[in-house]
Protein backbone atom coordinates (compact mmCIF):
# COMPACT_ATOMS: atom_id res chain seq x y z
CA UNK A 1 0.00 0.00 0.00
CA UNK A 2 3.03 2.30 0.38
CA UNK A 3 4.77 3.70 -2.63
CA UNK A 4 8.12 5.27 -2.09
CA UNK A 5 8.55 8.89 -1.04
CA UNK A 6 12.35 8.44 -0.83
CA UNK A 7 12.15 10.29 2.48
CA UNK A 8 14.28 7.81 4.43
CA UNK A 9 17.96 7.89 5.30
CA UNK A 10 20.05 4.75 5.73
CA UNK A 11 22.07 2.98 8.41
CA UNK A 12 24.96 5.42 7.97
CA UNK A 13 22.81 8.20 9.43
CA UNK A 14 22.06 6.26 12.63
CA UNK A 15 25.63 5.16 13.22
CA UNK A 16 26.41 8.14 15.44
CA UNK A 17 23.42 7.44 17.71
CA UNK A 18 24.17 3.72 17.81
CA UNK A 19 27.81 4.40 18.69
CA UNK A 20 26.48 5.26 22.17
CA UNK A 21 25.74 1.56 22.58
CA UNK A 22 27.82 -0.40 20.10
CA UNK A 23 31.58 -0.23 20.36
CA UNK A 24 31.93 -1.70 16.86
CA UNK A 25 30.79 0.20 13.77
CA UNK A 26 27.19 -0.80 12.98
CA UNK A 27 27.17 0.26 9.33
CA UNK A 28 29.29 -2.73 8.32
CA UNK A 29 27.35 -5.09 10.61
CA UNK A 30 25.06 -7.65 9.03
CA UNK A 31 21.56 -8.42 10.12
CA UNK A 32 18.65 -10.67 9.26
CA UNK A 33 15.12 -9.30 9.17
CA UNK A 34 12.97 -11.32 11.57
CA UNK A 35 9.94 -10.72 9.36
CA UNK A 36 11.00 -11.60 5.82
CA UNK A 37 14.38 -13.25 6.37
CA UNK A 38 16.30 -10.84 4.14
CA UNK A 39 19.92 -10.32 5.13
CA UNK A 40 21.98 -7.22 4.53
CA UNK A 41 24.41 -4.63 5.80
CA UNK A 42 22.96 -2.24 8.35
CA UNK A 43 24.18 0.61 6.13
CA UNK A 44 21.43 -0.37 3.67
CA UNK A 45 18.56 -0.32 6.18
CA UNK A 46 15.97 2.41 5.73
CA UNK A 47 16.22 4.90 8.60
CA UNK A 48 13.52 7.18 9.93
CA UNK A 49 15.08 9.55 12.41
CA UNK A 50 12.91 12.64 12.50
CA UNK A 51 10.38 11.36 15.01
CA UNK A 52 10.46 10.69 18.74
CA UNK A 53 13.02 7.95 18.15
CA UNK A 54 15.20 6.16 15.63
CA UNK A 55 13.49 3.47 13.54
CA UNK A 56 15.44 1.20 11.19
CA UNK A 57 13.37 -0.77 8.67
CA UNK A 58 14.18 -3.64 6.35
CA UNK A 59 14.93 -2.36 2.84
CA UNK A 60 13.03 -5.31 1.40
CA UNK A 61 9.82 -5.52 3.44
CA UNK A 62 9.86 -2.24 5.45
CA UNK A 63 9.16 -3.99 8.74
CA UNK A 64 10.92 -2.61 11.80
CA UNK A 65 14.41 -4.02 12.41
CA UNK A 66 15.48 -1.87 15.32
CA UNK A 67 14.17 1.05 17.40
CA UNK A 68 16.07 3.41 19.69
CA UNK A 69 14.76 6.08 22.05
CA UNK A 70 16.78 8.48 24.19
CA UNK A 71 15.07 9.02 27.52
CA UNK A 72 17.26 11.60 29.26
CA UNK A 73 20.31 9.66 30.44
CA UNK A 74 18.98 6.28 29.32
CA UNK A 75 18.86 4.66 25.91
CA UNK A 76 16.02 2.24 25.11
CA UNK A 77 16.84 -0.25 22.38
CA UNK A 78 14.53 -2.79 20.74
CA UNK A 79 16.14 -5.21 18.29
CA UNK A 80 13.32 -7.77 18.13
CA UNK A 81 12.98 -7.02 14.43
CA UNK A 82 16.29 -8.77 13.72
CA UNK A 83 16.88 -12.48 14.01
CA UNK A 84 20.52 -11.64 14.43
CA UNK A 85 22.89 -8.70 14.29
CA UNK A 86 26.42 -9.75 13.44
CA UNK A 87 29.67 -7.78 13.81
CA UNK A 88 33.26 -8.29 12.77
CA UNK A 89 35.00 -8.49 16.14
CA UNK A 90 38.32 -7.35 14.73
CA UNK A 91 38.01 -4.04 12.92
CA UNK A 92 40.19 -3.61 9.82
Amino acid sequence: MSSQNYDYLDGNAAAGELSKIFAIDVTAAEGQCAHCGATGRFAEAHLYMQGPGVVARCAVCEQVLLRLVNVRQRVFLDVRGMTYFSFNATEP
Binding site: M1, S2, S3, Q4, N5, D7, Y8, H46, Y48, Q50, G51, P52, G53, V55, R57, E62, Q63, V64, R67, V69, V71, R72, R74, F76, D78
Partner: protein, 200 residues
Protein backbone atom coordinates in the same frame (compact mmCIF):
# COMPACT_ATOMS: atom_id res chain seq x y z
CA UNK B 1 28.80 18.29 28.84
CA UNK B 2 27.24 20.17 25.94
CA UNK B 3 29.17 22.96 24.29
CA UNK B 4 26.92 26.02 24.14
CA UNK B 5 27.05 27.28 20.56
CA UNK B 6 27.52 31.04 20.65
CA UNK B 7 24.68 32.79 18.83
CA UNK B 8 22.62 29.66 18.05
CA UNK B 9 18.93 29.68 18.82
CA UNK B 10 17.48 27.23 16.32
CA UNK B 11 14.28 27.57 14.37
CA UNK B 12 12.27 29.17 17.12
CA UNK B 13 9.90 32.07 17.26
CA UNK B 14 10.54 35.04 19.51
CA UNK B 15 6.93 35.04 20.70
CA UNK B 16 6.45 32.56 23.51
CA UNK B 17 2.74 32.68 24.25
CA UNK B 18 1.39 30.17 26.69
CA UNK B 19 3.16 26.89 26.00
CA UNK B 20 3.42 23.69 27.98
CA UNK B 21 6.71 23.29 29.86
CA UNK B 22 9.75 22.63 27.71
CA UNK B 23 8.05 23.47 24.41
CA UNK B 24 9.11 25.90 21.66
CA UNK B 25 6.89 27.61 19.15
CA UNK B 26 7.38 26.66 15.51
CA UNK B 27 6.26 28.54 12.41
CA UNK B 28 6.56 25.43 10.26
CA UNK B 29 4.76 22.10 10.47
CA UNK B 30 7.49 19.50 10.90
CA UNK B 31 6.93 16.09 9.38
CA UNK B 32 7.98 13.37 11.79
CA UNK B 33 7.57 9.74 10.95
CA UNK B 34 8.46 6.25 12.09
CA UNK B 35 8.11 4.77 8.65
CA UNK B 36 7.16 5.23 5.02
CA UNK B 37 4.10 7.33 4.22
CA UNK B 38 1.28 4.92 3.45
CA UNK B 39 -0.61 5.75 0.27
CA UNK B 40 -4.17 4.70 0.88
CA UNK B 41 -6.62 4.99 -1.96
CA UNK B 42 -10.00 6.29 -0.91
CA UNK B 43 -11.82 3.39 -2.52
CA UNK B 44 -10.00 0.99 -0.20
CA UNK B 45 -9.90 3.17 2.95
CA UNK B 46 -11.88 2.02 5.92
CA UNK B 47 -12.13 2.80 9.61
CA UNK B 48 -13.22 0.12 12.07
CA UNK B 49 -13.96 -0.10 15.76
CA UNK B 50 -13.43 -3.59 17.17
CA UNK B 51 -13.16 -5.18 20.58
CA UNK B 52 -10.33 -7.52 19.72
CA UNK B 53 -12.78 -10.22 18.57
CA UNK B 54 -15.59 -8.62 16.62
CA UNK B 55 -15.83 -5.60 14.37
CA UNK B 56 -18.39 -3.36 16.01
CA UNK B 57 -18.45 -0.52 13.49
CA UNK B 58 -17.08 -0.04 9.98
CA UNK B 59 -17.05 2.94 7.66
CA UNK B 60 -15.72 3.22 4.15
CA UNK B 61 -14.72 6.67 2.88
CA UNK B 62 -18.17 7.43 1.52
CA UNK B 63 -20.04 6.53 4.70
CA UNK B 64 -17.42 8.24 6.84
CA UNK B 65 -17.72 11.47 4.85
CA UNK B 66 -21.48 11.44 5.19
CA UNK B 67 -21.15 11.76 8.98
CA UNK B 68 -21.61 15.24 10.45
CA UNK B 69 -18.33 17.14 10.66
CA UNK B 70 -16.94 19.96 12.76
CA UNK B 71 -14.34 22.61 12.10
CA UNK B 72 -12.12 23.35 15.04
CA UNK B 73 -8.96 25.21 15.96
CA UNK B 74 -6.48 23.57 18.30
CA UNK B 75 -2.89 23.77 19.50
CA UNK B 76 -0.47 20.94 18.77
CA UNK B 77 2.34 19.90 21.13
CA UNK B 78 4.92 17.41 19.92
CA UNK B 79 7.09 15.52 22.39
CA UNK B 80 10.12 16.53 20.30
CA UNK B 81 9.46 19.98 21.80
CA UNK B 82 7.81 21.95 19.03
CA UNK B 83 4.35 23.42 19.43
CA UNK B 84 2.13 24.85 16.74
CA UNK B 85 -0.73 27.03 17.88
CA UNK B 86 -4.06 27.83 16.31
CA UNK B 87 -4.21 25.07 13.71
CA UNK B 88 -7.49 24.74 11.83
CA UNK B 89 -9.01 21.36 11.05
CA UNK B 90 -12.16 19.70 9.88
CA UNK B 91 -13.12 16.26 11.08
CA UNK B 92 -15.65 13.92 12.62
CA UNK B 93 -15.88 13.91 16.39
CA UNK B 94 -15.18 10.58 18.09
CA UNK B 95 -18.43 11.23 20.02
CA UNK B 96 -20.23 10.94 16.68
CA UNK B 97 -18.42 7.75 15.77
CA UNK B 98 -19.05 6.13 19.14
CA UNK B 99 -22.71 7.18 19.26
CA UNK B 100 -24.92 4.21 20.24
CA UNK B 101 -21.90 2.04 20.85
CA UNK B 102 -22.03 0.44 24.28
CA UNK B 103 -18.79 -0.83 25.68
CA UNK B 104 -17.29 -1.51 29.08
CA UNK B 105 -13.78 -1.16 27.72
CA UNK B 106 -11.71 1.59 29.31
CA UNK B 107 -8.84 1.78 26.83
CA UNK B 108 -8.35 2.20 23.12
CA UNK B 109 -5.50 1.06 20.91
CA UNK B 110 -5.47 3.36 17.91
CA UNK B 111 -4.24 1.62 14.75
CA UNK B 112 -2.79 3.16 11.59
CA UNK B 113 -2.07 2.02 8.07
CA UNK B 114 1.53 0.86 8.27
CA UNK B 115 2.33 -0.56 11.68
CA UNK B 116 1.91 2.41 14.00
CA UNK B 117 -0.21 2.15 17.13
CA UNK B 118 -0.82 4.31 20.17
CA UNK B 119 -2.89 3.74 23.32
CA UNK B 120 -5.34 6.27 24.80
CA UNK B 121 -7.88 5.92 27.64
CA UNK B 122 -11.30 5.75 26.00
CA UNK B 123 -12.62 8.65 28.05
CA UNK B 124 -9.89 10.89 26.56
CA UNK B 125 -11.38 10.26 23.11
CA UNK B 126 -14.88 11.30 24.23
CA UNK B 127 -16.48 14.60 25.22
CA UNK B 128 -15.27 16.82 22.39
CA UNK B 129 -11.63 15.92 22.96
CA UNK B 130 -10.88 13.95 19.76
CA UNK B 131 -11.65 13.84 16.05
CA UNK B 132 -10.88 11.86 12.94
CA UNK B 133 -9.60 14.82 10.91
CA UNK B 134 -9.38 14.95 7.10
CA UNK B 135 -8.90 18.63 6.29
CA UNK B 136 -6.16 20.97 7.50
CA UNK B 137 -6.15 24.73 6.92
CA UNK B 138 -8.92 24.43 4.35
CA UNK B 139 -7.28 21.73 2.24
CA UNK B 140 -7.46 17.96 2.13
CA UNK B 141 -5.02 16.57 4.66
CA UNK B 142 -1.74 15.84 2.87
CA UNK B 143 -0.29 12.32 3.10
CA UNK B 144 2.85 13.46 4.92
CA UNK B 145 0.67 14.95 7.67
CA UNK B 146 -1.49 11.86 7.97
CA UNK B 147 -3.92 12.06 5.08
CA UNK B 148 -6.48 10.85 4.07
CA UNK B 149 -7.41 10.95 7.78
CA UNK B 150 -5.69 11.08 11.13
CA UNK B 151 -6.72 11.04 14.75
CA UNK B 152 -6.44 14.35 16.55
CA UNK B 153 -6.46 14.33 20.34
CA UNK B 154 -4.78 17.68 21.00
CA UNK B 155 -4.83 17.63 24.80
CA UNK B 156 -2.17 14.92 24.66
CA UNK B 157 1.26 14.97 23.00
CA UNK B 158 1.01 14.75 19.23
CA UNK B 159 2.35 11.19 18.99
CA UNK B 160 -1.08 10.15 20.30
CA UNK B 161 -2.73 11.80 17.27
CA UNK B 162 -2.08 8.83 15.02
CA UNK B 163 -1.56 9.64 11.34
CA UNK B 164 -3.13 7.43 8.63
CA UNK B 165 -5.62 6.13 11.18
CA UNK B 166 -7.50 2.97 10.26
CA UNK B 167 -9.29 1.96 13.44
CA UNK B 168 -9.60 1.59 17.17
CA UNK B 169 -9.41 -1.61 19.18
CA UNK B 170 -11.24 -1.41 22.48
CA UNK B 171 -9.37 -2.94 25.40
CA UNK B 172 -10.21 -3.82 28.98
CA UNK B 173 -6.62 -3.25 30.00
CA UNK B 174 -4.14 -0.67 28.83
CA UNK B 175 -1.59 -1.95 26.33
CA UNK B 176 1.32 0.21 25.16
CA UNK B 177 1.54 1.29 21.54
CA UNK B 178 4.54 1.86 19.29
CA UNK B 179 6.34 4.56 21.30
CA UNK B 180 4.81 3.77 24.69
CA UNK B 181 6.50 0.38 24.57
CA UNK B 182 9.94 1.95 24.21
CA UNK B 183 10.19 4.57 26.94
CA UNK B 184 7.44 7.08 26.22
CA UNK B 185 4.73 7.91 28.74
CA UNK B 186 1.56 5.85 28.65
CA UNK B 187 -0.73 8.91 28.94
CA UNK B 188 1.27 11.89 27.65
CA UNK B 189 -0.17 15.11 29.12
CA UNK B 190 1.99 17.99 27.82
CA UNK B 191 0.88 20.31 30.65
CA UNK B 192 2.29 17.92 33.21
CA UNK B 193 5.25 17.26 30.89
CA UNK B 194 4.59 13.52 30.80
CA UNK B 195 7.07 12.72 28.03
CA UNK B 196 8.65 9.49 29.24
CA UNK B 197 7.47 6.48 31.22
CA UNK B 198 8.05 7.15 34.87
CA UNK B 199 7.34 10.89 34.55
CA UNK B 200 4.80 11.76 37.29
Amino acid sequence: MAVISRGFSGRRSAEAGKLPPGQYLTATFPVLSAGPTPHVSLDRWEFTIDDGKDVLRRWDWKSFRSLPTETFTVDLHCVTRWSKLGTKWEGVSLDTMFADLKTDASYALVRSYGDYTTNVPLKDLMNHQAWIAFRFEGEDLAPEHGGPARLLVPHLYLWKSAKWVRGITLMQQDKPGFWESLGYHSYGDPWREQRYSGDP
